[in-house]
């Protein structure tokens, strides 16, 4: 019982800390870094629904970020539709795209699936780069879309300071974590894990593996697209090379893999550990040692895969439980 109480205490402390951070951190640069950190934690957690639980390796998730970003931006710029509504529409479109990609590919294994997602994402990006007008919709090809900072306010998903964005992404992250937790304990979660690990055995136990994966893919792409709208409103500028880049797709996958795919804490831990490495090495070594953080990512990725294939989450969770044991032991005494 005390153990549980300590855990609840930790949870409240973490929540309180997260809520209070913008009051302490006044530097916009650091707040920006934090927002992006949560943004990535959100993306990797969404990715994890299919990349982690379903045991496949999607490497094109930036497509969904792009679909979300473009949908809400076009709807708000051209038709004055609230970005919040555009966010949902973008999510639905992305879910459809996810199912379209998933349907033929989930029957394949491993490498083919990874390749198909890359090809789809890159093909999609190239298309967008080539299209100025898609029917009535203005995409502006490779130049992308600029969002003028007018109509500040919650309804228009636009704010002058950074802290509102911080709270929005925090809430999104919390929501997606709770959702992941619920799924991992549900029938769908069991079906995904089983289908990812031993598809034949899963099928024999009554699981339509491809269908379970499709559901996961639809959810994952829907959630990912929501972050696309966030990204558009936060940066006020989207273009194919940022919102749909292969680099983004890979970074999402890397963070989840290093943190530990298939676990709930893994993707968040990955973002907590890797994003600051990236940001600070960019800030301090960016001009002298460009790409240093990517070398660090690569090295960490390889080491983790060799020595902790389930990700850093595993040893950290063990350490956390030991800490809990010790604390609860002390309190009982």
């Amino acid at each position: 019982m005390t153990r549980e109480r300590i855990q609840i205490f930790f949870l409240i402390a973490a929540a309180g800390g997260a809520l209070g951070l913008p009051l302490v951190i006044t530097s916009p640069t650091y707040l920006h870094i934090l927002i992006l950190l949560f943004f990535y934690a959100y993306l990797t957690t969404s990715w994890n629904l299919v990349g982690g639980f379903a045991g496949v390796l999607p490497l094109g998730h930036s497509t969904f970020v792009g679909i979300g970003a473009y949908t809400s931006t076009i709807l708000s710029l051209q038709y004055g539709i609230s970005p919040w509504i555009g966010m949902i529409i973008g999510g639905v479109l992305a879910a459809i795209a996810g199912v379209v990609i998933g349907m033929p590919t989930f029957k394949m294994r491993g490498a083919y699936f990874a390749l198909a997602t890359i090809a789809f994402a890159e093909g999609f990006r190239v298309m967008v780069e080539n299209i100025d007008y898609l029917g009535p919709f203005f995409l502006n090809g490779p130049r992308g879309l600029q969002i003028p900072p007018l109509n500040v306010g919650l309804a228009n998903f636009m704010f002058t300071g950074k802290s509102p964005y911080y709270y929005i992404i925090l809430v999104m992250l919390a929501a997606v974590l709770i959702l992941t937790y619920a799924i991992s304990r549900s029938k769908l979660g069991y079906q995904l894990v089983a289908g990812g690990e031993e598809p034949e055995a899963a099928a024999a136990l009554g699981i339509n593996v491809a269908r379970a994966k499709l559901i996961a893919m639809a959810m994952s792409s829907f959630l990912t697209a929501l972050a696309g709208t966030f990204y558009a409103r936060f940066t006020l500028f989207i273009h194919p090379k940022s919102a749909m880049s292969l680099d983004l797709s890979f970074e999402i996958a890397f963070i989840a893999l290093i943190g530990g795919r298939g676990s709930i804490a893994g993707p968040v831990l990955g973002a907590l550990l890797l994003r600051p490495v990236g940001d600070f090495s960019r800030i301090y070594f960016g001009d002298k040692l460009p790409g240093l953080h990517l070398i660090i990512f690569g090295v960490v990725l390889i080491l983790v895969m060799i020595y902790q294939p389930r990700g850093l989450q595993e040893p950290l969770t063990r350490a956390y439980h030991r800490l809990l044991d010790r604390l609860s032991g002390k309190i009982e005494k």
Partner: protein, 241 residues
Amino acid sequence: MKLLEVKSLTKQFGGLRAVSAFDLSIEEGEIFGLIGPNGAGKSTLFNCVAGVYPPSGGDVLFSGKSISGQKPWNLCKRGLARTFQIVKPFASRSVLYNVMVGSFATTGKSAAAERKAREVLAFLHLDKKTEILAGNLTIADRKRLEIARALATEPRLLLLDEVMAGLRPTEVDEMVAIIRTIRKNGITVFVIEHIMRAIMALSDRIAVIHFGQKIAEGTPAEVASDKNVIKAYLGEEYAVS
């Protein structure tokens, strides 16, 4: 009532006819044995019944209805469960988790699935090992886990593919007892086994397959004295245990 009927079933792999015009019928409540030398086509027959391979010819009826060409997951929901000769545990997950995957076939609720899983695990004497990772189990326990998962789907017919291979004699005896109890609980059992002592003791009837064809069928005593069977096995499997 006939629970499973296999009618002139054929399975062709390229030029190889692994199962050839095979007929079979299993009564509800029976323990039916299938034996045959290595590579005779036993597992292939199972796979055709369980929907892993579409048959090249013939038909399979489950409680009177044709199921040939149906997918494994649908067959499972209709009450047909199977184990794999090469066990396929979800290695990174606990024993309980593995069995819950099975019990989710009949329920959508986690609590109910867990209750069912614990029940089955107790039945298979695995209740002390619920939290062990499936990948760390011994062979004997893996075989039991395989059965536990299948039972958790609440089948009417259970296909067991060599669940005693690699077990020690005492473990074989335990497994025989377990299978008997499964039948007592109303589940029909169709079992492939190489260990003669066990399958002879267990089965009500036995069919013998050799090069994909049925060469004998009858009670264990009839099969054991069949000339064709002795020829097929000469000096081979009888030597084993």
